[in-house]
């Protein structure tokens, strides 16, 4: 098949299948993975605000000993600061970016690293939430002991060891779940992007090497 000769048919092709709307609002919502990421981030922002407000009243809804309030609100403040940083700043960042007008390699590279950054954001956010969750659980466990007129020193050494092992197992499972979730949710898309980028860069690296080798040969000849 002669592709050059096919160009006339290509240029005169029927384009009736393309429907240009009379108004922009008739276009449906964007479904691109990057737009979905932005939509998810906006949803998470609202969920986060409601959760933070709810957690602010947690000691009142599920009472603990007043002496433990200081520790609870110290960890709560930590949670608010981390959440504000991770969610608000990233939401603003992702809503500002637009990656489609640069050349293909640059555009895909930026999308690729934005997704990688988002994956790391989920990892870091999850890992930072873990200590806060452990503090709250410990506070409620300690509160239960206080109500019974006991403290952690009154627990048997076997029970304390069991608690430590349980905490480690739960923490590890939590971390692995976050890693598995991001890999399942974003992994396939990131891998596909990487494949295209490698394809774009592959020959470039070979050509650079050939040019370098050519220059080296010329240097050797000149040296002779």
């Amino acid at each position: 098949m002669n592709l050059d000769k096919l160009k006339s048919a290509w240029n005169n092709e029927n384009t009736d299948d393309v429907h240009i709307p009379s108004q922009i609002k008739q276009l449906r919502q964007a479904k691109h993975p990057l737009d979905k990421l932005k939509q998810n981030m906006n949803k998470e922002w609202y969920i986060q605000i409601v959760t933070i407000l709810f957690l602010g009243f947690f000691p009142q809804l599920f009472p603990i000993h007043p002496s433990l309030h200081v520790i609870y609100y110290a960890s709560y403040t930590l949670l608010v600061v981390i959440s504000a940083y991770y969610l608000n700043l990233f939401r603003l960042f992702y809503n500002r970016i637009n990656h489609y007008t640069a050349d293909t390699k640059d555009s895909l590279t930026e999308i690729y690293y934005d997704f990688k950054l988002n994956i790391e954001r989920y990892h870091a956010f999850g890992f930072l939430l873990l200590p806060t969750a452990l503090i709250v659980i410990t506070l409620y466990a300690y509160n239960t002991l206080l109500e019974k007129g006991k403290d952690f020193s009154s627990l048997s050494s076997e029970f304390r060891l069991t608690l430590i092992v349980l905490t480690l197992v739960v923490s590890l499972s939590f971390i692995l779940s976050i890693l598995a979730w991001t890999r399942y949710y974003y992994g396939p898309y990131v891998n596909q992007l990487k494949k295209v980028l490698d394809e774009l860069k592959a020959e470039e690296l070979k050509l650079e090497q050939e040019i370098k080798n050519g220059l080296k040969e010329e240097d050797l000849k000149t040296g002779e």
């Binding site: 098949m1 709307p21 108004q23 691109h32 293909t104 895909l108 898309y189």
Partner: protein, 170 residues
């Protein structure tokens, strides 16, 4: 001039004038009519979102090529190799004003064969068919002119091999 470019009506008129790009990119990257329509819509959305950044210092078509190809490559939705099971002998012959049965049949075979290329190869073929030079294609893809030459030659050979396998001879 920026105010002209930023108006919705001007944008939609430009879409109408360049709808061939939407049609061709969608046909290259998606093999079902539903997916093609989805991709055309997605490209229009991304074009509209980026439109305010279009300063008019390059041809609208060049800018549109770039956004359309970048969107198609990074969209990935439902990009299945369904052409593997297609019966090439039953390729439709679309009817239009300049209906040329042989040329249109060739174009159908070409589109079915292109489905077996990867995203970068499809972009190279698109720019080749649109008549862009190696230099211009390299500029659009962000790779060197030499790289375009090597890749395009390989892609054309690969495409010819795929077409041969279908039993098409011409």
């Amino acid at each position: 001039m920026l105010t002209d470019y930023s108006s919705e009506k001007t944008f939609l008129n430009l879409m109408e004038a360049h709808k061939g790009i939407l049609h061709k990119v969608a046909r290259l990257y998606m093999d079902s009519p539903e997916d093609r329509e989805d991709l055309q819509q997605e490209i229009m959305i991304q074009l509209w979102k980026s439109y305010q950044n279009f300063k008019g210092d390059s041809a609208f078509s060049s800018w549109m090529y770039r956004v359309a190809i970048n969107t198609a490559i990074s969209y990935f939705k439902k990009e299945k190799r369904r052409s593997d099971v297609y019966d090439y002998s039953s390729a439709k012959e679309p009817e239009n004003e300049d209906y040329n049965p042989e040329k249109d049949r060739q174009l159908e075979i070409f589109y079915l064969a292109v489905q077996q290329l990867n995203s970068v190869e499809k972009a190279l073929i698109f720019y080749f068919m649109e008549g862009l030079s190696h230099r211009e294609t390299g500029f659009q893809l962000g790779i060197s002119e030499g790289n375009v030459r090597v890749k395009l030659n390989r892609t054309k050979e690969k495409l010819q091999q795929i077409i041969k396998k279908t039993g098409y001879e011409s």
